[in-house]
């Protein structure tokens, strides 16, 4: 049996009954990493010794018939913007390259409590700012389907690791599409949960009102399993939602059941605006649902077009403030010989932040400045409310909305770096979801002419992740796209 072909859930079930050892699964993952990591560069750090020790202890636990967690013995990777007491928490920035967190993020605590084996921390765009992982201050990650291409971003490392089977599941974070778009580019499943469903405590903040942690997995059931571990109220995160207000579901329960009389909303202009290959596959996917008995309803989202403008004001405003703490005074990079304390700030920040981070800090600082606040930040907040309204109205007519994740498949490394605005525009389908705070999933729905994966995005009302995953599973049951693997030996790496 090829151990690596198992899903996270299948592996968990086998480890739990002792038919597979976590040690073997972990060994398999590390031999995969040794084989492919030089080609993909998905990880900023890996913890082979610690992971094997943990795997061994879980095997012993299971052998002793002790109660084990939901992810017992399963090798998992987390994006390197989630704090861990082991290894650095770099955010792919020179600023935090050698930063070691004194505490674990809540999601990391939850993974550990579920007996997961954390095997490494994945690369990202510096401080999660970007859509290609080209903005990593530490390394470039390559798309496993074509290593001349970007893996997407900012959770590019997590998605590439998942696609290369260098882990059984991964965590990413999504501020404007950072889980869904790399999942789409790498042909894996990515779920951005409702804002407030998963704790942000210990997630290094980029745009606090938009950031949300979610799973990147090989199929929808695994995303549900991961949600069963990470979802829920956290007393350390005031913006996480009280489970008394909105209970957390068992996301796996009923996942195999189709939804009768499903009403799917589509905005034809959105689909038409994508590249032809993307458009065709999205239309095929919608046909697949139609054939399964779903009703397709045309809806309008008039304020959607303003989402990029609103997002790049709100996210950068928050980022300019969130990143103010990296100053060379307390931790992180400090310049060598500052003349005075002002230089501690200016030189440390200038030396350690990359161009995109600086660009966004400056944009955000400008948007919040006195005299501009009303015209930019405040107006963006109003637009955000209108976009929320778009979704509220849409969900009066349909159960979910379907559209592409990205207008294109993975683009070539360096292709868009010269034009940041063009890069921003590629986030058109994902950003509104973050502004509205609703959940959305990206799932593989085919390939373009160059055999690059295409992702279908399904968006649901707030806190309806369970239903959203069932809807996604309907497609997965009828298609095999999620089972296809990149051929890493014939890969056209330069």
């Amino acid at each position: 049996m090829d151990l690596l072909k198992l899903t996270c859930k299948e592996l968990r079930d086998k480890i739990a009954v002792g038919s597979i050892k976590s040690t073997d699964a972990t060994e398999a993952i590390f031999s995969q990493i040794e084989k492919h990591e030089p080609q993909i560069a998905a990880f900023i750090s890996t913890f082979k010794d610690d992971a094997l020790a943990k795997a061994k202890s879980i095997d012993e636990k299971i052998a002793a018939d002790e109660k084990s967690g939901l992810l017992a013995g399963v090798p998992i990777c987390v994006k390197d913007n989630m704090c861990t007491t082991f290894g650095p928490t770099s955010c792919a920035s020179k600023m935090l390259e050698n930063f070691h967190s004194p505490y674990n993020a809540t999601v990391v605590e939850k993974l550990l409590a579920a007996d997961a084996v954390i095997i490494g921390k994945a690369n990202l765009d510096e401080f999660a700012m970007g859509s290609s992982t080209e903005n990593s201050g530490l390394q470039q990650t390559f798309n496993p389907w074509d290593t001349r291409c970007v893996p997407g971003g900012s959770s590019g490392g997590s998605a590439a690791a998942m696609a290369t089977k260098m882990c059984f599941a991964a965590l990413g974070s999504d501020t404007g599409g950072s889980i869904r778009q790399p999942a789409s580019f790498c042909g894996v499943v990515g779920l951005k949960p409702t804002y407030g469903r998963v704790s942000r405590f210990g997630l290094v903040a980029y745009g606090s009102s938009l950031d949300q942690i979610g799973p990147i997995t090989s199929d929808v059931a695994d995303a549900a399993l991961m949600m069963n571990v990470i979802a829920g109220k956290d007393e350390n995160d005031s913006t996480s939602i009280d489970e008394k207000t909105v209970p957390v579901s068992d996301y796996l329960a009923g996942i195999e059941n189709d939804i009768d009389k499903l009403k799917i909303g589509i905005v034809p202009e959105f689909i038409a605006a994508a590249d032809p290959d993307v458009r065709n596959k999205i239309e095929e996917a919608i046909d697949c649902y139609r054939n399964a008995g779903s009703e397709i309803i045309e809806i309008k989202m008039p304020y959607f077009d303003y989402s990029i403008a609103a997002y790049y004001l709100l996210a950068t405003a928050e980022a300019s403030s969130n990143l103010a703490r990296y100053d060379g005074v307390h931790y992180g990079h400090r310049t060598d010989s500052p003349a005075d304390y002002v230089e501690v700030y200016s030189k440390s920040r200038n030396e350690a932040f990359g161009a995109e981070v600086k660009r966004r800090i400056m944009l955000g600082t400008y948007a919040l400045s006195s005299g501009y606040y009303d015209a930019y930040y405040l107006k963006a907040l109003k637009v955000r409310n209108l976009i929320r309204g778009d979704f509220t109205k849409a969900f009066e007519k349909c159960d979910c909305i379907m559209m592409p994740v990205s207008p294109t498949t993975a683009f070539k490394i360096g292709e868009k770096t010269a034009d940041p605005l063009q890069m921003y525009m590629a986030d058109i389908y994902t950003i509104a979801v973050n502004l509205a705070g609703v959940p959305a999933v990206s799932l593989p729905c085919g390939f373009d002419a160059n055999k690059l994966p295409i992702g279908l995005q399904i968006i649901a009302p707030a806190f309806e992740e369970a239903k959203l995953l069932r809807i996604a599973r309907m497609f997965e049951k009828r298609n095999d796209y999620h089972l296809e693997q990149p051929n890493l030996t014939t890969n056209k790496h330069e």
């Binding site: 704090c83 007393e235 005031s238 703490r325 005074v329 307390h330 919040l368």
Partner: protein
């Protein structure tokens, strides 16, 4: 000679450190004097990924202050980030409140020296977190101690309604009394629990035209004395400057001064401080605070009679002098101790005298409040009743009170042991009077003769009686018996 008249105009910003169990947004205990950076956690030192969680007690304390300061309390308030770079500010933004403070406009009544009071308008009172401290120890670098970072501060801003150093001081003391009454701050000046920043200028009338001098702000004053003196000094300095230069206020311009406590002068720190751009925006890590009626009424129920109300009541209800009432209400425990003693049947003025003449001295010596001397209000009331009924003299009452502060709460027992009970036994007194009369026939004759000598002689006889009883005779009773015996 020009005709020149001026008024001082002062508004105050006051930071009050709240006596909560933990810091404003994390679980660290509040700190004073501990080793540097020993009371910190990822949240209050701004580690990556750490998130603030609002301290509900701090909000309730602030609302309680708002109620006591007659503030309008909006039902919706929120947290904002105030951005500026400084090494003692770990996140390089302070979580504060910008346009929607917990407490809106209100007022505080301050007592004036003439026994009246003045109403000073409050602009707002909001909650925020304190910064840490930079330590400049003379090395090539400075150090930062973040123990104080995240401590809850209530910032109270007044309108420029104060018009003298004395008034400014009175407000500061009144506010200290209020927050201590409410139990929301220790308001210990030595520990920096109250910090003041007066904004001062003058309205000068010269030849019938009014001029305003430039506003100055004196930073970070932490004693009442420095506060009063800095205001008085600034007023003189500004007047001199105006006479010398004729400079007047320009809107939006404010110079910042420090206070040199050794030289008793203000020192210019920054001239014409340009309006700082703090880039306020709502903190996305915190949720807005909604203050509903139910919550507010629960907080309202913790409101007590405020010091100035109490002081006025003591004057009106008990006929105490404003000064004495002020002394008794300086701290809540003493005021309540007084109230309870009176309630237990004592005569208010007598309690007041005993407490102000003896009790406070004792408390001072023991460095505690009167209420902590170990004396029960009931026992003190008993003592007062004994004195009022003439069982003991006023001076004996004082002696007994001193004894009682040792923990003995039975004044009768002390009086007996110390032989301080006045002789009220008529039979025994009569015998003594008889003896005195028998030994002083001349004096009797003088009394009976009447005239000038008569008064002197009866005074002499009274003196002999008191002497014979070693002072324990009840003087009224002795006088009564004497006059009966002499047939008067």
């Amino acid at each position: 000679m020009t005709n020149l008249d001026y008024k001082i105009i002062v508004g105050l910003e006051i930071h009050v450190q709240l006596a909560t169990k933990t810091k404003m947004f994390c679980g660290c205990a509040l700190s004073f004097g501990e080793d540097a950076n020993s009371r910190v956690c990822p949240v209050c030192i701004g580690m990556p990924g750490a998130l603030p969680v609002m301290n509900k007690q701090a909000v309730e304390f602030s609302l309680l202050a708002g109620l006591a300061l007659n503030c309008e309390i909006p039902s919706f308030t929120k947290w904002d980030r105030k951005s500026y770079y400084y090494p003692d500010l770990p996140k390089n933004y302070q979580i504060s409140q910008y346009d929607l403070p917990l407490n809106g406009t209100g007022f505080i009544e301050i007592p004036l020296e003439d026994g009246t009071s003045k109403r000073i308008r409050i602009t707002r009172a909001h909650l925020e977190e304190d910064a840490g401290k930079n330590i400049h120890a003379g090395d090539a670098f400075s150090r930062v101690d973040l123990n104080r970072a995240g401590t809850p501060l209530l910032e109270i801003v007044t309108e420029p309604d104060l018009s003298s150093g004395t008034e400014v001081r009175a407000l500061a003391i009144e506010l200290q009394r209020i927050v201590r009454y409410l139990g929301i701050s220790e308001a210990d000046m030595q520990k920096g629990h109250m910090r003041f920043e007066p904004n001062i200028n003058l309205a000068i009338t010269k030849d019938g035209t009014e001029y305003r001098t430039p506003i100055t702000e004196v930073k970070n004053l932490n004693s009442f004395r420095a506060l009063q003196r800095s205001v008085e000094y600034e007023a003189r300095r500004q007047l001199d400057e105006f006479i010398d230069t004729g400079k007047t206020m320009v809107m939006g311009n404010k110079s910042t001064y420090g206070w040199d406590d050794n030289r008793n002068v203000t020192v210019l720190q920054r001239e014409k401080e340009e309006a700082h751009d703090y880039r306020y925006f709502p903190d996305p890590d915190l949720v807005p605070v909604e203050v509903d009626e139910k919550w507010l009424s629960k907080i309202k129920s913790r409101l007590c009679e405020l010091p100035l109300q109490k002081q006025k009541r003591f004057v009106e209800q008990f006929g105490l002098s404003d000064y004495d009432a002020g002394v008794l209400t300086a701290d809540k425990a003493t005021a309540e101790f007084f109230d309870e003693t009176v309630k237990a049947g004592a005569e208010a003025k007598r309690v007041c005298n005993l407490l102000t003449q003896i009790g406070l001295k004792l408390a001072n010596e023991k460095n505690c409040s009167v209420a902590e001397l170990g004396i029960l209000p009931k026992a003190l009331a008993k003592l007062c009743v004994m004195a009022s009924e003439g069982q003991i003299s006023a001076s004996a009452a004082q002696t007994i009170l001193v004894e009682m502060s040792g923990g003995e709460n039975e004044p009768e027992k002390i009086a007996e042991e110390k032989n301080l009970l006045q002789k009220n036994d008529t039979g025994e007194l009569e015998k003594i009077v008889d003896e005195v009369l028998a030994n002083n026939p001349d004096a009797i004759a003088e009394v009976k003769a009447g005239g000038k000598k008569s008064k002197k002689a009866s005074g002499f006889l009274m003196g002999q009686i008191i002497k014979a009883t070693k002072g324990s005779a009840n003087p009224q009773m002795a006088a009564k018996i004497l006059s009966q015996k002499l047939g008067q």
